[in-house]
């Protein structure tokens, strides 16, 4: 199965780095009805996004279905140096997962 697009942007702000990740995900609440069938579209949403700096987990976000579709999630790090690796990985309530990496410039 093709992985959903996961795009990470690392922004340097002074001596801090903002790590912003955009994930293409429907974030269905489970309450919306399919217009054609009238059936409720099952809940399908990202549950966890993990942020790692050089292999060490520095943040873990928990998401509910109240987060927007194609969510943008951002955290901020200090102490990231050029050449460091930032890894973002996510899992959803149906067992789907994805992720991406970026190198700090």
């Amino acid at each position: 199965m093709a992985e959903r697009l996961t795009k990470v942007k690392v922004k340097k702000l002074g001596d801090k780095h903002q790590v912003l990740v955009l994930i293409n995900h429907p974030m269905e609440t489970g309450q919306r009805k399919d217009k054609k069938t009238g059936e409720k579209i099952p809940a399908h949403f990202i549950e966890t996004i993990t942020f790692e700096l050089n292999g060490n987990k520095v943040a873990e976000a928990s998401l509910g279905s109240g987060v927007s579709k194609n969510p943008l999630t951002g955290v901020e790090l200090d102490g990231a140096k050029p050449g460091d690796t930032i890894k973002v990985s996510w899992t959803d309530n149906k067992g789907e997962s994805g992720g991406t990496e970026a190198t700090v410039k």
């Binding site: 697009l5 795009k7 942007k9 912003l20 955009l22 579709k69 194609n70 943008l72 951002g74």
Partner: protein
């Protein structure tokens, strides 16, 4: 009715000529000066360039501007713009690209333009489709959203920061401009509003939950990536998609994209936004 002002018109045309551009006729310059004057009076703190940000430039938008500012920290259209640039650069089956056509076309700062030979207004969308046909490719049918909007965005963004400066310097161009101007100032639809009613006389005022944007700078940032359209799955919009929506909102019959009236309206709006730097694409509600 727009009052004709005297004064700087001739100087403006001379200035345009010395800048190596064809420029605009004195009457058109008068209209531009009057249009700008209205907004300068209404929003004294907002300088001309700032109108490129649309409704976000208005003081009345203070409570809502954070939507745009926060979304722009990681613009939702970024991924699509990468795709758009790839689409623009991708060779046709015959090896040519859009650049090969558009190297012979005006820069984005001079679109739309009056074509003296064909006696019609040419838009970027029309010239994209002409390029496709000329190179043995299928022209794009959907002129409101998706691929056409992304291609227009990929072309226009190459001129970001450059001032819009369409030419209205011939009788044919002037007639087209007048058609657009008339459309803009004519009341229409069941609600009987003209474009000017909302976007000139009531710019900055509330329309139910929304703030009306200023006509000045209106289409500077098109194509637009709208949150409302994104939620429904079709985020992109060309100018003519938006015109159709506006017509529907006043309960007037929307026209087809690239219809003569919409192209004329687009030409008028471009002239009114002369001098404003392009900032493409725009992220809006």
């Amino acid at each position: 009715m727009i009052r004709v002002t005297t004064g700087l018109a001739t100087a403006a045309l001379l200035v345009a000529a010395t800048m190596g551009q064809a420029g605009v006729l004195p009457e058109v310059q008068n209209d531009i000066d009057e249009f700008r004057g209205h907004f300068k009076k209404r929003f004294s703190e907002v300088n001309l360039e700032r109108y490129q940000d649309g409704v976000n430039s208005l003081p009345q938008y203070a409570e809502r501007r954070a939507n745009w500012e926060l979304l722009m920290e990681f613009p939702p259209y970024e991924q699509d713009m990468e795709t758009a640039r790839e689409l623009w650069a991708k060779p046709f089956k015959n090896g040519k690209t859009f650049a090969d056509c558009f190297d012979n076309n005006p820069p984005a700062t001079k679109y739309p333009y009056w074509d003296e030979t064909r006696k019609e207004i040419r838009t970027i969308e029309l010239d994209i489709n002409e390029c496709l046909s000329a190179n043995g490719e299928e022209p794009i049918k959907n002129l409101k959203t998706g691929k056409i909007a992304m291609l227009v965005a990929a072309f226009r963004e190459q001129f970001n920061g450059q001032e819009w400066a369409v030419d209205i310097d011939s009788p044919g161009a002037k007639a087209a401009y007048d058609m657009g101007k008339k459309y803009y100032w004519t009341k229409r639809g069941q609600l009987n509003f003209s474009c000017a009613n909302c976007h000139v006389h009531n710019a900055g005022n509330k329309l139910r939950g929304d703030v009306l944007s200023a006509g000045l700078g209106h289409t500077t940032g098109f194509p637009v990536y709208r949150t409302k359209w994104a939620v429904a799955g079709k985020p992109w919009g060309t100018v003519h998609r938006r015109y159709g929506g506006c017509n529907s909102q006043v309960r007037a019959e929307p026209l087809k994209p690239q219809s003569a009236e919409y192209r004329a309206l687009e030409l008028y709006e471009a002239a009114m936004s002369s001098g404003i730097p392009l900032k493409v694409p725009s992220q809006r509600q």
